[in-house]
C-alpha cells in the first residue's frame, strides 16, 4: 500500500504536491484527466474549494475522485461558505470515505468571486478549524458532545512568506502551528533569497514547509499578480525573461523558471518540498517536474 501523506511528510524526501481545480459544471472529464495525469507523479493532490470564491464542483467531490483513482487527496476547506455544523459534518463524511488530509483555509472574500451578493460565513477561521479537527480527533464536537466515532487527519495550513508587513503573518503562522498544523503550503514565492530567510525562521517549528510554486504563463500574468494578488511578488528579471520569449513560447519559459526554482529549493534543501499550482494548465505539471529533475 502506498504510504499516506502524513507518512511521506516524515520521510527524508522532498515532498511534491500539486492541485486540481474542479469544473464549473458537471462535466468532470478534464478534472479526471488531470487527476490521472498527476496522481502518481506527486505525493498528494489538493482540490481547491471554490477557488477565488468562484462557485464550482466541490472540493470533497474532487477528493473522492482522487481516492477512487488511487491517489492521495488533500481536502481544501475554507471557512467562507459553511458554518461550524457544516464544516464538522463534512469532516466526518470525508473521514468515512478515506480522506485523511485537510488544508484549513480562511477562504477568499465572497466579494472577489462570482457570487458577490452571497453571505460570507466565516463562523470559524483557519486557526479555529485546525483546533476543531484536533478536538474532533479527541472524540468531541465543537459543542462538547461525544462523537460516535472520531476522525483523524493530517492537517495543514497556508502562510504568506512575502506578506507586508510580515510580523502579523508570522504570529498567525505560529498560532496555526500551536493549533495543530503539521504542514504548510505557502503562497507563491519567486524570490528564493527572501524565501530562504523565511525558512530560517520557520525551521524552528516542528512542521513541514512546502513552497508554493505558481506557473507563470506570460509577462502579463506576472504583472497582473504583482498588482492584484496579495503577498505575491514576481521580480522584474523573471518578468523580463517571460517577455523575451518568442510569441507563444512564454509558457515554456514559465515551465523552465518553475523547474529551476524547484530544483534549487531541492538541491539546497531550502524547504521540505513544493506545492505546484498550474491554475488551469495542470497538463504541464509533469513538464515542470521534469524541468526540475524530479520526474519519476
Amino acid at each position: 500500500m502506498a504510504p499516506s501523506f502524513r507518512e511521506v511528510l516524515k520521510f527524508d524526501k522532498f515532498v511534491i504536491t500539486s492541485e486540481i481545480g474542479p469544473p464549473k459544471g458537471t462535466n468532470i472529464e478534464k478534472m479526471l484527466h488531470h487527476i490521472d495525469l498527476l496522481k502518481d507523479k506527486v505525493d498528494a493532490l489538493n482540490v481547491t474549494d471554490h477557488q477565488s470564491s468562484v462557485m464550482r464542483f466541490p472540493s470533497i467531490g474532487g477528493c473522492l475522485a482522487i481516492k477512487e483513482r488511487g491517489g492521495e487527496p488533500i481536502l481544501q476547506m475554507t471557512c467562507r461558505d459553511r458554518n461550524r455544523l457544516s464544516l464538522q459534518a463534512e469532516l466526518l463524511f470525508a473521514y468515512t470515505r478515506g480522506i485523511r488530509n485537510v488544508l484549513c483555509l480562511t477562504g477568499d472574500a465572497v466579494l472577489v468571486g462570482d457570487h458577490k451578493e452571497a453571505k460570507g460565513v466565516f463562523d470559524l477561521d483557519s486557526t479555529q478549524l485546525l483546533m476543531t479537527i484536533r478536538q474532533m480527533e479527541a472524540g468531541k464536537d465543537l459543542g462538547g458532545n461525544e462523537l460516535d466515532g472520531a476522525v483523524e487527519f493530517c492537517a495543514g495550513a497556508i502562510v504568506t512568506p512575502e506578506a507586508n508587513p510580515i510580523e502579523p503573518q508570522l504570529i498567525k503562522f505560529e498560532k496555526k502551528v500551536e493549533a495543530g498544523a503539521e504542514f504548510f503550503q505557502t503562497q507563491a514565492i519567486y524570490d528564493l533569497d527572501k524565501f530562504a530567510k523565511f525558512m530560517e525562521y520557520a525551521r524552528q517549528f516542528p512542521v513541514k514547509i512546502l513552497a508554493g510554486i505558481i506557473l507563470l504563463v506570460s509577462a502579463r500574468m506576472a504583472k497582473y499578480m504583482n498588482e492584484n494578488v496579495p503577498g505575491i511578488f514576481v521580480p522584474q528579471n523573471l518578468i523580463d525573461d517571460l517577455a523575451s520569449a518568442p510569441k507563444g513560447e512564454a509558457i515554456n519559459k514559465g515551465i523552465e523558471i518553475a523547474g529551476r526554482m524547484i530544483a534549487t529549493l531541492e538541491k539546497e534543501s531550502i524547504c521540505d518540498g513544493v506545492h505546484v499550482m498550474a491554475i488551469g494548465r495542470e497538463e504541464v505539471v509533469p513538464d515542470i517536474l521534469k524541468a526540475a529533475g524530479l520526474a519519476t
Binding site: 461550524r84 477561521d125 506578506a163 498560532k175
Partner: protein
Amino acid sequence: MKSITKQKTFEEIEQQLDGFDRVYIAGCGTCATMSKTGGREEVLEMRERLQELGKLVTGWIVIPTACDEMTEVAIKENNGAIQNAKCILVMSCALGVHKLSTYIDKPVIPALDTLFIGIEDSPGCFQEVCAQCGQCVLGETAGICPLTACHKGLLNGPCGGTDNGKCEVDKEKDCGWTLIYQRLKEQGRLDLMRKYHSPRDCNVAPRPRTTRIT
C-alpha cells in the same frame, strides 16, 4: 453614535409610492441630517421631486430625533396633514421608520437604506466601528474591533488577503488586523495577538435582541 444611511434610488422610491397620490414626508434632524440623507434640505428636494411626479405632498416635517419618544408628539401636532396623506415617506434610518410606523396607522415607506452604526472620523467621513456582537474584545485588540474592521470578522489575526496594510476586497480599505497589529506593537502588547480566540458565540443575545433595565 450615528445611524448611517444612504438614499434609495429615486426609481425605487417611485416604485414603492406607486398608487399613493398623496404623500407626507418625514425627515430626521439628527443622524440623517448629519449624513445629508434626510435633513431639511433633502426633505425639501424630495418634496419637489414628488411634486414633479404629480404627487400631492400634504406636508413635511423634520423630526428632531425620529427614533425617540418625542416623535409621538410631533406626529400628533401634524395629524391633519398626515391624515390627509395616503402614506408617509420616511427619510430617517430604520429606527425612525420603525418608530413612526408604531404611531401612524398608514403605510410607512422608507426612503433610505440604513447601512451601519458609525462614528464621524473626520468631517463627512463615517466609519463603522462596532458590530454590536455582544462580546466585546476591544480590550485585547487595542480598541479596534476585528469583527468590524476586518472584512471577514476574523478573531485570530489577518488572512492571506492582506497586502501592504490594505484589504483584498478594496485597496482603499485598511486591513483591520494590520491596524490592530500596529497599535498593539506601539503599546508593547503584541503578545495579545498570539492569544487564541475560540469560535465566538453568535447567540450571546439571540435575535430579536431585547433588554430590560431592572
